[in-house]
């Protein structure tokens, strides 16, 4: 199985099971997919179809039961806990449904904590980058506010700023528009679409929204832990090999 240079993420026979023995429940069956650099992928499927689990496996948050996950030439299953944390810190960005922000910290501080941990930039450099990320999401004027003083849409944009400020190669979003009104949801969708189309990173987004799923480069539909549909809507794609 050869991988071309523009393949960023590849899963091979990825399996995830929970529990032991008779109670064992397989959530993902032999998933083999690959995503290119700059691709905007929508993961869809009913609740319990395994799409979130797939997302966590792609994000080195969960451990597979079988198969492999390769991201930029690194196999996630081979990394220990600390290396996975470092990998998440340097290469991945997460956006969750419930705009997970730390309540004690301002918008800007939330954005720069991953950069502080990485240590590649000084505090002021990190703040400049964080401020730029907030500006891109049109939040720079509210950088000093704490999450409690921001609306849901604003909080979600702060968490996107946090995900992108560290310049990750892969952004993983778990129903990022799930709790937003249609105007805010559209804004968030546009940010991801732009990030992907500029080739800055690959975006994998779990969504229930059929419209957004259609408008992404590619839609992967899961059911009962298997890929039942993998369609490319427009733009250059690479087809997943089963």
């Amino acid at each position: 199985m050869d991988r071309s240079d523009d393949v960023l993420v590849e899963t091979r026979n990825l399996t995830r099971a929970l529990g032991d023995g008779a109670a064992q429940q397989t959530i993902l069956h032999d998933i083999s997919l690959s995503f290119d650099r700059g691709q905007f992928v929508a993961l869809t499927g009913a609740s319990g179809s395994g799409k979130s689990t797939l997302l966590y496996l792609l994000g080195a948050l969960d451990r597979q039961s079988g198969g492999e996950v390769w991201i930029e030439g690194v196999e996630m299953g081979a990394l220990d806990d600390d290396d996975r944390a470092a990998f998440r810190n340097e290469r991945l960005g997460f956006v969750f449904q419930f705009h997970f922000l730390l309540p004690e910290f301002s918008a800007l501080e939330n954005v720069i904590i991953p950069m502080m941990r990485r240590g590649n930039w000084s505090r002021s450099e990190a703040e400049d980058r964080g401020y730029e990320a907030l500006r891109m999401l049109d939040l720079h004027e509210l950088y000093f506010r704490k999450p409690g003083q921001l609306s849901g849409g604003q909080q979600q944009r702060v968490s996107i700023a946090r995900a992108v400020a560290n310049e990750p190669s892969l952004i993983l979003a778990d129903e990022p528009t799930g709790n937003l009104d249609s105007k805010n949801a559209e804004g968030v969708f546009q940010v991801f679409a732009n990030l992907a189309s500029e080739g800055r990173c690959t975006v994998v987004m779990v969504t229930h929204d059929a419209d957004f799923a259609r408008r992404a480069n590619r839609q992967v539909r899961l059911k009962d832990g298997r890929v039942i549909e993998d369609s490319t809507q427009h733009g250059p794609t690479s087809v997943g090999r089963a």
């Binding site: 609740s47 979130s52 966590y56 994000g59 948050l61 969960d62 806990d81 600390d82 944390a85 470092a86 990998f87 998440r88 810190n89 340097e90 997460f94 969750f96 449904q97 419930f98 997970f100 922000l101 730390l102 309540p103 004690e104 910290f105 501080e109 904590i113 991953p114 502080m116 941990r117 990485r118 240590g119 505090r123 946090r162 778990d174 129903e175």
Partner: protein, 423 residues
């Protein structure tokens, strides 16, 4: 990832989270503060009492005394001859009139003065005499001394209230008395008092000095004459019954006493043995204080434990966020440990400060006491070590108490939290 970046990130998060929960963490700090405060105050009181007592003992008592009892075991003649243990005991040995005394005492005194730990040594003779004045009698623990030498061992002249101690040497047949005796008999410097002891020759003694060491047991019983006067009065011409010794460091007393006993073959006693009863009480009090302070610090530790466990449980989501953006388990562990250390450090410093204030005000409390020691105020004494112990124990408790919450926090699995949230 440089270690510096790690430390900066961790302390940034730890400090902010502490600050944003001022009430809860303030309560945890309060528990530690209370523990340290009690530690300092209780130790101050205990040290105040034991220190006052010890200094009272050492004021006018020698550190080591050599008595006239020889230690060399005298085995029965029969046993020495047969070279095996022999049961040879006389049912009731009739006591001899031969009086015991230290042999060649001045050679021993001179030798003692060469011992490096010994500051001063003086020969003396002790015995009970009855004093009679104005129809009242009182028994006195009389010491015949060489005035200048004895004053180097037990600085009596410092406590003379009227008269002069030196006059013992210049006026023939004279006595220096404790203030308690003088008061009981109605004596003043210049009065003449009749003194007598069994087996000796009664004498009229001129009171030349009255001293008050503020140690009631001594002030009410002690009298000093010259050695010669005492020998006459007690009927023991030329006898030396004891050699009193002052050490450079009174803490050495037990060890030095043992080696002096071996060196000279006479039974010796250190001040610690003489006052073993009281010192045992102090040792027991120290233990009780240790238990009380330990218990309070333990409660403070449980305060930190309870509050931090609660915070860890509430903060599962935040821990999951931090882990997902790339903080390691060890970072989470260190964030909570750092919070425990900061809580206990702040609590310890506050406790130290309040402890100092408490020691000051306790020392002002008026308390009248005249028993073993005489005092007008509550006895407290501070020792810089208290403050070091205060901070030290606080830190120890803080670190141990935050270990469990910190460990729990570090074991949070971000996936489980995220799944739970999203369903």
């Amino acid at each position: 990832m440089t270690p510096l970046a790690t430390i900066k990130t961790i302390s940034f998060i730890a400090l902010r989270q502490l600050w944003e929960r001022k009430l809860l963490n303030g309560i945890a700090v309060g528990g530690v503060t209370l523990g340290v405060l009690v530690l300092i105050a209780m130790n101050g009181i205990m040290l105040g009492f034991s220190d006052k007592f010890t200094s009272a003992i050492l004021k006018i008592s020698p550190h080591v005394i050599l008595f006239d009892t020889e230690l060399r075991p005298v085995s029965p003649l029969l046993e020495r001859y047969m070279q095996t243990p022999v049961a040879a005991q006389i049912a009731h040995e009739s006591p001899t009139d031969r009086q015991v005394r230290i042999k060649r005492p001045y050679e021993i005194v001179n030798a003692l003065r060469q011992v490096p730990e010994v500051e001063a040594a003086a020969p003396s003779l002790a015995g009970m005499v009855l004093l009679e004045f104005g129809g009242k009698t009182k028994s006195v623990d009389l010491r015949g001394i060489e005035v200048a030498a004895q004053d180097l061992v037990t600085p009596i002249h410092q406590y003379v209230k009227s008269g002069r101690l030196r006059d013992l040497d210049t006026s023939h047949d004279s006595i220096a008395l404790g203030a308690g005796i003088a008061q009981d008999l109605g004596l003043k410097v210049g009065d003449s008092v009749r003194a007598a002891a069994p087996g000796g020759k009664p004498l009229d003694l001129l009171v030349v000095a009255i001293f008050e060491a503020e140690v009631p047991p001594i002030d009410k019983t002690r009298g000093y004459t010259t050695l010669r006067t005492a020998q006459t009065l007690l009927g023991r011409p030329d006898a030396i019954g004891r050699i009193e010794i002052r050490l450079w460091d009174p803490a050495d007393a037990i060890r030095v006493n043992d080696s002096l006993e071996r060196m000279f073959g006479y039974d010796g006693e250190s001040w610690k043995e003489t006052n073993a009863n009281f010192l045992a009480i102090f040792a027991m009090q120290d233990m009780i204080v240790g238990f009380v302070v330990g218990a309070i610090l333990l409660v403070g530790g449980f305060g930190i434990l309870a509050i931090q466990i609660m915070i860890v449980l509430q903060k599962q989501r935040d821990i999951a966020i931090l882990r997902s953006v790339g903080l390691r388990r060890s970072d989470i562990l260190r964030i909570f440990l750092m919070q425990g250390v900061i809580i206990s450090l702040v609590g310890g410093l506050l406790g130290d400060g309040l402890g100092k204030v408490a020691i000051y005000y306790l020392g002002q409390l008026p308390v009248k006491a005249e028993g073993l020691v005489k005092t007008d105020t509550f006895l407290v004494k501070e020792d810089p070590a208290f403050y070091v112990y205060g901070i030290g124990f606080a830190l120890l408790v803080g670190v141990i108490a935050s270990l469990i919450p910190a460990y729990r926090g570090s074991r949070v699995e971000p996936v489980e939290v995220l799944r739970g949230q999203i369903g």
